[in-house]
């Protein structure tokens, strides 16, 4: 019968989307194989330069070296100051600062 049912169209669309999902899963395997070598390189660099942080955002000291921020850094001048760097509002203060309150 040449008449296509709407549900056939839906199943085709879902199959198409699932095909994409499968393709992206293949992409994921490929990428995670690639990323092993990259992570090994990153580890070497962290070790040899004694680095402590990821380079996510260089806007401010406490977003560039997140883990090294002292307790006053995330609240630059006042504990209730509004965060003025976009990155700072994405990033919470490091947990060890909240735990240990001595400087």
């Amino acid at each position: 019968m040449n008449h296509m049912r709407p549900s056939d169209g839906l199943f085709l669309l879902l199959a198409y989307l699932l095909l994409w999902v499968v393709l992206l899963c293949c992409d994921a395997t490929r990428r995670s194989r690639e990323s092993e070598a990259r992570i090994a390189l990153e580890r070497t660099i962290v070790r040899s330069y004694a680095l402590t942080d990821l380079c996510l955002s260089g806007e401010a000291r406490y977003t560039r070296h997140l883990s090294q921020a002292d307790i006053h850094a995330p609240f630059q001048d006042h504990p209730l100051a509004l965060e003025h760097f976009p990155s700072g509002s994405l990033i919470p203060p490091p947990p060890h600062l909240a735990r240990r309150t001595t400087p």
Partner: protein, 379 residues
């Protein structure tokens, strides 16, 4: 085909035809819902990947970093601290770390200057991260000129660029020798930025850190576990903008559901009545409404997840980039290890698909259970 499946397919066919009548509205809902899910899924995939990679890479970070504090601010630490920490039992080694920030006016960017602890770089040379290279348009063999704190210009020859695959840790680094570092910043000799302590027994890190804090009350310690925990807590659900995004998405979703619940249109009610009158059961009507919700929700969920993946891994998460980059001009184009967390995806699924179906289904419930003769009486 068994009658049950044939019945479902027949009802599904009608549902789709009915939805195609309101093509514009349904496409709009589909698009918005897909985008909402794409944003959620991007956040989930991005943070999951970032935490995963941070957890692996930062295992190589110093076991304990000791910083000196002066009046609540991070200050330079002196050589005598090195000797006192080294004398503590359980400490295997203490290495001064020299690092600092250099604001480069021509690139309008802040670089992180680091002296390698093993001193493996010659005087007058520099190794730079690709972010630095990009912002100053520098290549191997070029000269990087920096203005020192003494007002003089310091020229360093670029010995190498740090491989770009490692941008996540190295993008803004400038690796220089100790002599160049001290002269550029007029950094007092006998002082260091902070200390990296290695511990003989990895299980004693906490104890040793405690002893250091006791022995040197003017310092604070950051252990490797603290560092890793910092990145595991990154993009916490409750933090700042993330919370805002989630809250606004939830609110808009609730509004949408409320709109559906109260706004079941007269036309829809009439059609439900007709279907009842011509012999559809309450269950048939609910199956139709369920399909209506499920079709939109499933397509949106799959589409949203696919979009999120493309965004993160083919477009370098450029939306997050805009946030992380903020006002800094130097931003790393890092690739992340793809991590698909079934738990995260299941949570996302449960938070979006069933509520949407419920939002479609529940308002129809009353209409679906109306008496079949309602249509005849209302005319």
């Amino acid at each position: 085909m068994t009658p049950g499946i044939a019945r479902y397919r027949n009802i599904l066919d009608f549902t789709l035809r009915a939805m195609l009548r309101r093509r514009g509205k349904n496409l709009l809902v589909l698009t918005l819902f897909t985008l909402v899910i794409a944003v959620f899924a991007s956040i989930l995939l991005f943070t999951r990947s970032l935490r995963h990679e941070a957890g692996l890479v930062l295992k190589e970070a110093p076991e304990i970093v000791v910083q000196r504090m002066v009046a609540g601010r991070h200050d330079l630490i002196s050589a005598e601290h090195v000797a006192r920490i080294a004398s503590l039992p359980g400490v295997r080694g203490v290495a001064p770390r020299l690092w600092g920030y250099y604001f480069d006016p021509s690139a309008n960017a802040t670089f992180t200057l680091v002296v390698p602890p093993d001193g493996g770089i010659g005087e007058g040379k520099a190794r730079i991260g690709v972010g630095v290279g990009r912002s100053r348009k520098l290549f191997r063999g070029n000269t990087l000129v920096m203005r020192g704190y003494d007002g003089r210009e310091h020229a360093l020859e670029i010995e190498a660029l740090i491989p770009e695959e490692s941008e996540l840790v190295s993008s803004d680094l400038v690796i220089v020798s100790e002599r160049d570092f001290r002269s550029l910043f007029s950094f007092p000799s006998g002082r260091a930025t902070d200390l990296a302590v290695t511990v003989a027994n990895p299980r004693e890190v906490g104890t040793v850190a405690g002893k250091i804090a006791e022995l040197l009350p003017d310092t604070r310690t950051v252990t490797r576990d603290d560092i890793i925990a910092t990145y595991q807590a990154l993009f916490d659900w409750r933090s700042g903008v993330m919370g805002l995004i989630f809250a606004s998405a939830l609110i808009s979703f609730a509004l949408f559901a409320w709109d559906r619940a109260t706004g079941l249109s007269a036309e829809e009610r009439r059609e439900t009545g007709i279907l009842k009158a011509i012999g559809w059961e309450t269950a048939d009507i609910l199956l139709m409404k369920f399909s209506e919700g499920a079709v939109i929700a499933l397509i949106s969920f799959l589409g949203g997840c696919i979009l999120a993946w493309l965004h993160l891994h083919f477009f370098w998460g450029s939306l997050f980039g805009a946030f992380l980059k903020g006002w800094s001009t130097l931003y790393p184009y890092f690739r992340l290890a793809p991590v698909i967390d079934p738990y995260n995806l299941a949570v996302l699924f449960m938070l979006t698909v069933p509520p949407y179906i419920a939002a479609i289904l529940i308002p129809s419930w009353r209409a679906a259970s109306m008496d079949p003769d309602t249509v005849m009486r209302e005319q």
